[in-house]
Symmetry: C3
């Protein structure tokens, strides 16, 4: 790609200081700017980079400018962060979307594929599958029978969707994530564990993004549900019959055990675990590595394993850090009590 | 699928109250029953659903019935839970098994494939592989050279089995699980870490189920072993030369480090970690998120990181939760001692 | 494979005691030696196995020998461990490397493939990809556009490399690892979370090994970097814009959150978590399951969640284990203080 400063300025309605024909061929983080690249300065604490950055063109929030001229081209906007995001979105769109059916993709004759769909090489589409318009499915994806995939989704290479699962519109699923593998259900017998058939499915609602290498198990009967707008990072475990509401954010390597119900707008930290068969309310924050083993109220902030109120955990943990000192103090107190007792006998 | 109440009653030897021609087209969990669906009531605490459920047909344990007539069709059995499981198993069987070799599957000329085997599109079967009768292998599976797979197994899409690994009979391996990747073994040198070749394999014994996205590394020399009847959930790490006995249950995201030996009938909780080179006995329970760093005796119940007796952990954790209060009390005691000391000087 | 004792002795420059024509067909760990197999004894504590092992041929460190004759063939060397490693490396090499392009591999016409490269069936190589000489890419690998892969790499089956990522020379990446999936970046709005485009890439430097089922996200802008010689185990999460230095060792199921910078020669334990936007120095050791939430100095040894000095953690944890006893003692002290106070009123 190649853009001039004046092209960029026109995208974000900015004013140019310097060479409007300056050309950029890439973007850099401001801390490691490169010659010929674009970056942005939106915060006071990065203002020194306006002078020192090696970038050829910078988008800068108006309030951060102190001079009339700079050694590089400046595009002046009201909010440089916002403008930069607009540009990144534009750039992403300009990279284009894939379309067409590649050689080697396999479709069952009963599958129904929408308009302007991309299906990559060696992807398998089983019987009675429906794929919505504008959806992009990369190579090596497996889609089991009776699966429904909505419009404008992206499924990256190696995604596996087991039979009867449902994916909404505008969903993104990253590579090697598995949707609909069997729930972990066994009946104990004297001879060993007997498998309980897992006959349900997974329903992923609209606008959900799921990272790479996640496992989302199908319900035993009924559905495992990922609610609208929820965002799931990488390497996450969602067990059978979990119901997750709308607009949750779940960080990498978290795990949610079977049949737990999670409300809306919660934030679940990385490597956190939630036991089965409990209710998490709304707007709950669970700190990374916490282990939640009982139901929560709306707005709770939790930390620890087992998790308690985060402020209590932090306060108690300060004492834990001083535990050796506390015990010394206690021993010294014991000695002083002994002394007092001896004295009082006199 | 479509069944009448009388068909279902005949499968489980039940007695019908109501319309024997009532038709069901699906199954529901009792809490979210749907018209036209089947569900079951086996416990007192769900007895209200016998009246209120929207399901058209319910299987109910005899002792829970209090009336002669209901608004829906009831199939009366001795133990509704058991009867329902029989039905689920029947239903699973009726969905049929896949068979035949799909176009695009690739076989080395020296591989040997049993009777009535299914191999999906784009699955690669390398030299000298043996696949037992009735085994089903979905698309996109990679099977390295000299691998042996037993009878009646199911390998879902995206499973990878490295060279020389052995899978027993009646095993199920879910999508994107990797069996036999190199153990994590390096020799420290001044220039960096030198790879130690990993020349062993993985042996998965009969009746093992392994969830999706697991990593089971090959032995350095000798085998990593998963014993008969052991069930492994999703996203689990089993390191090189681990030996796991029979009938263990290991929950999602647990990890077991190199060369550790695990007995029989243990339960390992989600996100638990077990260090390398230790022995876990039999019938041990390890709570979720625990970190076991020393060998255990049979029947131990462990919790915490590092793990200690679960009852001790819980009792101590209650004090941890009150730590701020405990410290306050201690400070108050210190003041009272001071006071006593001052008084005694008088 | 089949080797005679004299062949083996010649590889490691050893002296034979016993039958120089003894044939071995495999290798065993010393604890579970098999007839016809080779093993080694390098340490005093395994010396009893020189007599008792069922192996037909043993490589033994000279200093451990006490007799002139043994019931099996002995190959005498100075350091048996070293000699055995030389043999394992030789054996690994003798297994040969794969080469050639298998039927079913797909290449974009603009891709450039080096000499003596192996590409397995159903692997997809996108536009402008460059693959270096001697590199081996197994079946079912997806390589996005503009990806560069160096010389002498091994990418196992099911690896996914998103667009624009760069892999150095001599790298090994195990099955189902994903390089370059989108970072987990969203902007909160009233309607829900808006995706922030992830336009950067991942750079994996030379001599890096990455285990199976890892997720390494691309930078938002700029690169996520895995430094030269760093070794990464299985099921590990590396978030967007993380920079990892040289010669680090990261154990299974660890996770590193966004933009964190990690120096050289660190050891990160299994299931450890490191929060985003901090600096880890050099030669730091992070114990398994720890949660590091602030920057560290060189040489720190850390433990706990949140992590503190490992020696402090261990010392404090001893008190935690005795917490119930400590509280009892405190209560008893309180009673004695009360008693003293009562006495002093008399």
């Amino acid at each position: 790609m190649e853009f001039t400063a004046s092209q960029i300025a026109s995208f974000v309605n900015g004013k140019i200081i310097g060479d409007e024909n300056a050309v950029i061929t890439g973007v850099s983080p401001i801390e490691s700017g490169e010659n010929g690249h674009l970056s942005f300065v939106a915060q006071e604490r990065f203002a020194d980079f306006i002078e020192s950055s090696k970038c050829s063109v910078l988008i800068v929030s108006e309030k951060l400018l102190t001079k009339k001229d700079y050694s590089k081209t400046i595009i002046v906007v009201e909010d440089a962060y916002l403008s930069f995001q607009i540009l990144m979105n534009l750039y992403k769109e300009m990279q284009g979307r894939k379309s067409g059916i590649e050689d080697g993709a396999v479709f069952h004759e009963t599958s129904v594929v929408g308009e302007n769909v991309y299906v990559g090489a060696f992807t398998c589409v089983s019987e009675k599958v429906k794929i919505g318009d504008e959806t992009q499915i990369y190579p090596h994806v497996y889609i089991g029978k009776n699966v429904k995939i909505g419009k404008n989704c992206v499924l990256y290479s190696g995604v596996r969707i087991y039979d009867y699962c449902v994916i909404g519109d505008n969903c993104i699923i990253h590579s090697n994530t598995v949707i609909g593998s069997d729930g972990f259900g066994f009946q104990l017998t004297k001879e060993g564990y007997q498998k309980i058939p897992q006959l349900g499915n997974v329903v992923v609602e609209d606008n959900v993004e799921i990272g790479s290498n996640c496992s989302i198990d199908r319900g035993t009967i009924g559905s495992t549900i990922i609610g609208k707008g929820t965002k799931i990072d990488n390497l996450i475990q969602i067990a059978h019959n979990v119901k997750i509401g709308t607009n949750n954010v779940i960080a990498a390597q978290a795990g949610i055990a079977g049949s737990t119900v999670i409300g809306d707008w919660n934030m679940i930290g990385g490597q956190a675990g939630i036991v089965g068969h409990i209710q998490i309310g709304n707007q709950v924050k669970i700190q990374a590595q916490s282990g939640v083993n009982s139901s929560t109220k709306d707005g709770d902030i939790l930390y620890g394993s087992p998790a308690i109120s985060a402020s209590d955990y932090r306060r108690n943990y300060v004492h834990f850090r001083n535990f050796t000192e506390i015990v010394s103090k206690m021993n010294e107190m014991a000695a002083r009590i002994k002394e007092l007792e001896n004295n009082s006998k006199d």
